[in-house]
Symmetry: D2
Subunit: 404 residues, 4 copies
C-alpha cells in the first residue's frame, strides 16, 4: 500500500457503521447502529426503529441494518382477472406516497371488472445473463461462436450443477470483432433468480474458457439489461413476458372512466408522437407507477422497475367499444426468495394468493391486469381533462399540524 | 347507463374497498379496511397494521389506506462529498431487500472517502411537461410555432398564476405535421413539482388555445418522459442534471476495491459493447439499484427511477489512477412535498441534513456521489470476480425458522 | 519507420492507383487508371469510361478518378407543391435501380396533385458540429460550461473568420463528468456546409482552448450524428427541418391509391407496433427510398441518407378523408457546392428549378412533398395488397439476351 | 368518383410523364420523355441523355426512364483481405462526389495492407419480413403464437413454392396484445431478395390466415427495419452479418495513418460519449460514407444504407499496436438481380471479382474490410488534426471556368 503514502486522506480514520459482528441482526445491534447514525448526523430515528418484522429475518436482505422504513399501503380493486394462472377477483396492494395513484388504478380496475374482467396470458419466462469473451483475433472469436452449439449440453451440465431451480434453456452468441457476447437464458422458477443464474453462468464460463483459446471473460457485459432500459428488453428476456387485454363496452367506459372511447384512443395516438419525438423505448402512459407501488408492497427487487416498465400499451376503438392491452416483455417477479417473505411483503403477496412456490406466473398475470387498469385510467383522465382535478383532490397533503 | 344493460357483468355488484367517508385517515378506518381485505382475501395483515407513522399524515399520499409496508433500512458510508451544496461526510440511508447492495455501496463510499471524496456539481435544474396541440393544417401549426416566442411573457404569467414556487423558464416547440408538441420547462424549487407544473401548464395551454386556431390540446404528449426511459432525458429536463466525479489513487483502488485500475476500466470497455448490442439508453453498471434504495428510504416518488436512472458512467485510467464519474441528466428529487415528511422518510432525509426547503440541490449532489460509489464497487466486483462470492456471502436468507 | 522492419508485409511493394500528378483530372489520366485497374483485376471498364461530364470538373469530388457510374434516371410527377419557397407543379428526378419505385412515388404524387397539392413548410435550418473538450476535473469542466455563454461573441468571431457563408447561431454544452461536448449550430446557406463548419468550429475551439484549462479537444464527438441515425436528430440539427402535409379527399384516395382511408390509416397503426418492437428511430414507411433516389439524381452527399431519413410520418382519417404528413427534422440538402453542379446533377436540379444559390429551401420543400407521396403510396399498397403485384409487374429484369 | 366533384383540383388534367406504351425502354421513348421534361421544366438534359448502357436493359430497374445520371467513380486500394470467401488484394470502386473520401479510404487500405491485411468473417446470412396478424382477442393471439411452431413445415412449403432461391429458415412470433408480429427469416442466396421473400411470406401468410381465426394480416409491420435504422438490426437479420478486423503494428500506424495508436483509440473513447449523448444506434466513425460509395458503384439498392450502416466499430491499443474491427450486423448486398448487371455496376462488381451467382459472401467480406479502412483513416484524421487540412486539399471544386 505504499502508493497511498502520498495521499493523506487515505490515512485518515474512516468511521464505519458498527458491524456488531456475531450479532449483526439482533435488535440491539440495530439500536446501536441507529445510535451511531444519530450521533453522527443529528437525525432522530424513532420511526425507523419502530419496525415490527423480526430483525433476524433481515439477514440476506440488508447490511448495516438500522430498522425499516414505512411506506403507506393502499388497496386497489376489485380487479377481475381471467388468466390461465390467475382467475378471480383481486385487491391489489400498492405502496406509494403519490396521492391519487391508488384511486386512479382502482377506477381502471372497476372499469375492467364491470367489463367482464381482463384477460391475461403469460407467454415467455426466462431470465438472462450475458458474459463477454475476449479472443486474440476475429478468427478465434468466429471459431468459438461456431462451436458454441456443440458445447451446449456441457454448458447446461456445468450451469445446472450450481442450482436446484434454474435450468439453462439456450445460449445465443453475438460476435463483435474479437469479442463474443454469449447470452445465457434460464428458467428460474418462482425466484427472480439473478444471483442464481449469475453463479451458474460463471461456472459455465469457467468451463468454457478451459475449452477454447479465450483470453478471458467477464460475467456481465451489460447486454442482459438488468436494472436498465434497452431495446433488447422488448423482445423479452428479463423475466416474464405477459400480456393483459380487455374489451370495455362503450357505456362502461363512459360511466366509469368518464370519457368516450374515441377520445381515449385519440390520447394514445397523440402520445405516440410524443414518444417518437423523445426517442422513448416502448409506449405507455405510466406503467412505472403501478409497477413500483406493487413491487414495494410485495417485497420485489424494486430497482427492476428500470427494465420491467419497458412495455407497450395499445388502446383503440373497436365497434364503438374500447379495446386495450398492455404487453410487458421483461417483467421481473418473484414469489420466493429475496424480500418476498419479509413481514409486510408476505402479507401483501398473501392478499393476492401469491406467496410461495408456484405462484410467480399467477402474480405476473395479476400485475399485467393491474397495470392495464392504470393505463386506461390515466388515458381517460387526460382525455376528460380530469387529471389536474384528481391531483388537486387526492394529491394534497394535510396541514403540518396533522402530520406529526 | 343504459348502454350497460347489454353487459351483464356490469350489473354485478362490485365490492369497493370501504371508503369510511369523513374518517378516511383515522386509525379505525384503516383497521376496517384491513378487516375487509382479510375477509376477502384470507391474508392476515398484522405487520401492515403495525405502522408508527400517524395515519392522518398519510392524507395526500395514499387512498384506501390499510397501513404501511416495512422495507429494511441500512446505512452506507462514510461518504465524503465535495459539492457546492453538499460538503462533508455522509451516511446514506438505503432501503432494500437485495442482499449485498448496502455492503457494495459502502465499499465504494469508503474508496471515495479515502481518495479525498467525490466532487459533485449541479448543472441544470428544470422539470418539464409537454402538451400537444392539434390544428386543422400544417399551415396553422407552422404559424402557431412561429408565434410562440411572442406569447412567452403571457404564458409565463398564466402558468405562474397557479403556483407560488414554479417558474416557467422556456417553451420549446416541436412541429409534427399539423400537430405541435410544446415543451414547457420550469424551475420547481425543492419539490419534484409534477402536479404543480401540470396545473400551471394546463392553465397556460387554455389561454394559448384561446389565442390561436388550435382544434384542441392534450396536456401530456409523453415527450417529457415522466416515468419512462427515453433518449431525450440524456439532454436533461426531468429534474436535476448533476455530476459526481473522483480520482482514486491506484493504491486505494487496489486496497479497498480489490482490483487494478486497468482491470476496472476494462470492465467498462467491454460493457460498452453490451450496451450497444442491447440498444441501451445511456451507460451504467447499476445506477437503478442505489437510486431505488435511496428513493424508498427518503420518501421520493420511486417510480421516477424509470427516468432518473438514465445516465452515463465513465471509468478510465489516468496516470495509473482511476478516474470515474457519473452524469445523471434527469434526476428527480424532492425535499418538500410528496412523501418527504412522512415518518421514516423525514428521518432518512434528516440523516443527510436534507429535510425541508432549500435542500434539494444538496440531496442531488449526495445522491450523485453515492451512485458513483456504487458504480465503482460493481465494476470492481466484476473485474475481480468477487461478484458471485459477495452475493453468496450477503445475499443468503436465514433458514425459515428464523424468519417468523 | 524502423518499427516496421519486423513486419515483412509492410515491406512488400504496394501498388497504388496511378496518381498521374499534374494531370490528375485529364481524360488520359482517367484512361491510364482504368487500364491499371483492368490489368490488376481483369474487369473491363468500357461503360465506366463512357462518361460525358468533363473529367476536369471532377476535381474536388473524387480522387483516383476512373470515370463515372451510370444510374438509371426516371421522373415522377406531376407533384403540386404549395410551399413558401416552392409553389407549382414539379417533375421529380429519381435515380434508382429498384423497379416499381418511380411508379409508386408517381402514384402518390398524382394523388396529392389531384387533392390540391401538398403543403410544405421549412421550420428550422441549421447544421451542427459537436467537439468534445477534456479537463482535469469535474470542477474545471463545470466552470468551463458555466462560462461558455460569455464566450459566444468571441466564438462567433473566430468561427465566422473562416467562412463567407456560415453563421454561428448558438452553442450548447453537455457536461459529462470531466468532459464537455459543445454543440455548435450554424446557418450554412445553400451548401450542406459540413467542411465549412468543421473548419470554423476547429478555429473556434483552438481559441477556446487558449482561454481555459482544457487538456485538449477533439473536433468531432459523434454527437452531431453526421452520417448516422440517432435520437437527437429528431429534434433537428443536421440541416433543414421541413414538413409536408395534405388532406386527400376520400374519393381521390380510393380512385388513385386504390384503398380506403381507414385501411391506409390502419396500416400505419399496425406499423407503429412493428417500429416499437424493433426499437426504431422515428416512424415511416420508406422515406429512405425516395430520398436516396433524389439524392443520387441531384448530386447530394448520398451518405446523408443515414441521418436524413430519420423522420416521422403521420396518416390518419379525418372526416372520411385522409390526412397525412411527413416531418423530416434533419434533412441535409445543397444546391451549391459538392456534386450539385456536375453534369447530370445540375440538370436534375434544373428540372426542379433548384440549381444554384438561394434554392436550398425550395429543394427542401419539394423533397418533403415527394417523400409524402411515397409514404402514401406505400401505405396504400400494403393496405390494398398491391405491393407484391406491383413488384411482380415493375420489378422484373428483362431476359439476359436484352441486357448487353 | 362522385365524391371528387366537390374538389375542383381533382378534375384538372394531370400531365403524366409519357408512357410510350410498347416501346417504354426504347431509346426514342427515353428521348421523348426528356423532351417532355425539358418542355415542362426548362431544364436541358444533355448529360442525362448521354448514357451508354442499353436502355432496354433498364426494364425492371426504373420507370418513366429518361436516361442515366453519372456519378464520378474512383478506386481505392490496394486492400489485402484475408477472408474465407475473399482472399487477395482488391481495388474497391467508390462512386461519390465527396472530395477526400476516396483518398481517405485508400489511406486506411494501405495501412491495413501493410499490416498484413484485414481478416473478414461472414457469420449470419438471412433476410427478414415481419407481417402482423390481428385477432379478436388476446386469447386467440396467444393460441396462434403457441401453435406457430407446429405450422413451420407447412409455412416453409408455402413460402418456398414461390421461389427457387429463397429458403425459409425460422419464424419468430412477438405477441402484442391481440396482435402478433411474426418475423420470417430466409436465406436468399446472392440476391438481396426483398421482393422474393415478401412474395413468399405473403403466400405463407395467406395459408396461415386460413388455418386460424385471424381477422387479417398485413405483410409489413415495420419490424424488419427495411430501409430504416432500428435497434433490432444490431442482432442481425437484414442480410449479412460480417466482421472485419486487423492488428496494425505501431510503426505502420504512425507512418501511414500519421497518429499514435493511443491517440486514435482515445478518439473512439471520446466518441462513445457523443454517441451515448445523442442516443445513437451502434457506434462508428462514418460507415455510411464508404458503404454508400460502394453501393452506388456496384448497383446495390442504395437506400439500404439506412439499415446497413448500423454497426459497431472497435479501436483499441493492444501491446502498443492498434487493434480494430467493424461489425456489420445487417449488411444488405447482392451480386445478382436488381441493378447488379447494369453497365457500370457489372463492371464495378467485376473489379472485385464479385459479379454473378455465388459471389455475395465474397462481396460482404470485401465491403467489411473496406469500411474498416475508412474507420481507421477517419479516426486517425481526427486524432492528428488532419481532418480539416485533408478536406481543404481534396474537397475544393475547381474554378467554374473548368466545370462546363
Amino acid at each position: 500500500m505504499s502508493e497511498d503514502e502520498a495521499t493523506p486522506a487515505s490515512r485518515q480514520p474512516v468511521a464505519l457503521v458498527p458491524r456488531c459482528t456475531d450479532r449483526e441482526y439482533e435488535a440491539d445491534a440495530l439500536a446501536e447502529r441507529r445510535a451511531f447514525i444519530e450521533a453522527h448526523t443529528g437525525a432522530h430515528l424513532a420511526h425507523v426503529g419502530a419496525y415490527s418484522i423480526p430483525s433476524r429475518a433481515m439477514r440476506g436482505n440488508i447490511e448495516n441494518a438500522l430498522g425499516a422504513v414505512q411506506v403507506p399501503l393502499g388497496a386497489a380493486g376489485p380487479l377481475l382477472v381471467r388468466g390461465e394462472h390467475a382467475a378471480g377477483t383481486f385487491y391489489v396492494p400498492m405502496a406509494t406516497t403519490e396521492g391519487a395513484l391508488v384511486r386512479s388504478y382502482e377506477r381502471g380496475m372497476v372499469a375492467l371488472t364491470r367489463s367482464g374482467g381482463a384477460s391475461a396470458r403469460l407467454f415467455l419466462d426466462e431470465n438472462r445473463v450475458a458474459p463477454i469473451f475476449t479472443f486474440a483475433s476475429l478468427e478465434s472469436a468466429t471459431s468459438f461462436t461456431r462451436r458454441l452449439p456443440e458445447w451446449l449440453p456441457a454448458l447446461r451440465a456445468q450451469a445446472e450443477s450450481t442450482t436446484h431451480h434454474g435450468r439453462l434453456l439456450h445460449v445465443d452468441p453475438f460476435l463483435l470483432g474479437r469479442r463474443v457476447i454469449v447470452s445465457f437464458s434460464y428458467a428460474t422458477g418462482d425466484a427472480s433468480g439473478m444471483n442464481m443464474i449469475v453463479k451458474a453462468t460463471d461456472r459455465a464460463c469457467r468451463w468454457l474458457a478451459s475449452q477454447c483459446d479465450a483470453q478471458g471473460y467477464q460475467v456481465f457485459s451489460g447486454h442482459s439489461s438488468e436494472k436498465r432500459a434497452s431495446g433488447v428488453l422488448l423482445a423479452g428476456g428479463k423475466g416474464k413476458k405477459v400480456c393483459a387485454a380487455a374489451r370495455l363496452p362503450r357505456g362502461t367506459v363512459r360511466a366509469v372512466l368518464g370519457a368516450l372511447p374515441e377520445d381515449i384512443a385519440a390520447v394514445c395516438q397523440n402520445s405516440v408522437l410524443g414518444h417518437l419525438q423523445a426517442g422513448a423505448l416502448g409506449f405507455n402512459a405510466h406503467l412505472a407507477n403501478g409497477l413500483t407501488a406493487i413491487y414495494i408492497a410485495c417485497g420485489q427487487d424494486v430497482a427492476n422497475v428500470a427494465n420491467a416498465c419497458v412495455g407497450i400499451t395499445q388502446i383503440e376503438v373497436v365497434e364503438g367499444d374500447l379495446e386495450a392491452s398492455v404487453t410487458l416483455p421483461s417483467l421481473t417477479l418473484a414469489t420466493v426468495g429475496g424480500g418476498t417473505a419479509l413481514g409486510t411483503a408476505g402479507e401483501c403477496l398473501a392478499m393476492l394468493g401469491c406467496l410461495g412456490a408456484g405462484q410467480a406466473p399467477r402474480l405476473a398475470e395479476i400485475v399485467a391486469a393491474a397495470l392495464l387498469a392504470g393505463e386506461l385510467s390515466m388515458a381517460a383522465a387526460i382525455a376528460s381533462g380530469d387529471f389536474v382535478l384528481a391531483h388537486e383532490t387526492y394529491g394534497r397533503n394535510p396541514p403540518p399540524a396533522q402530520r406529526s
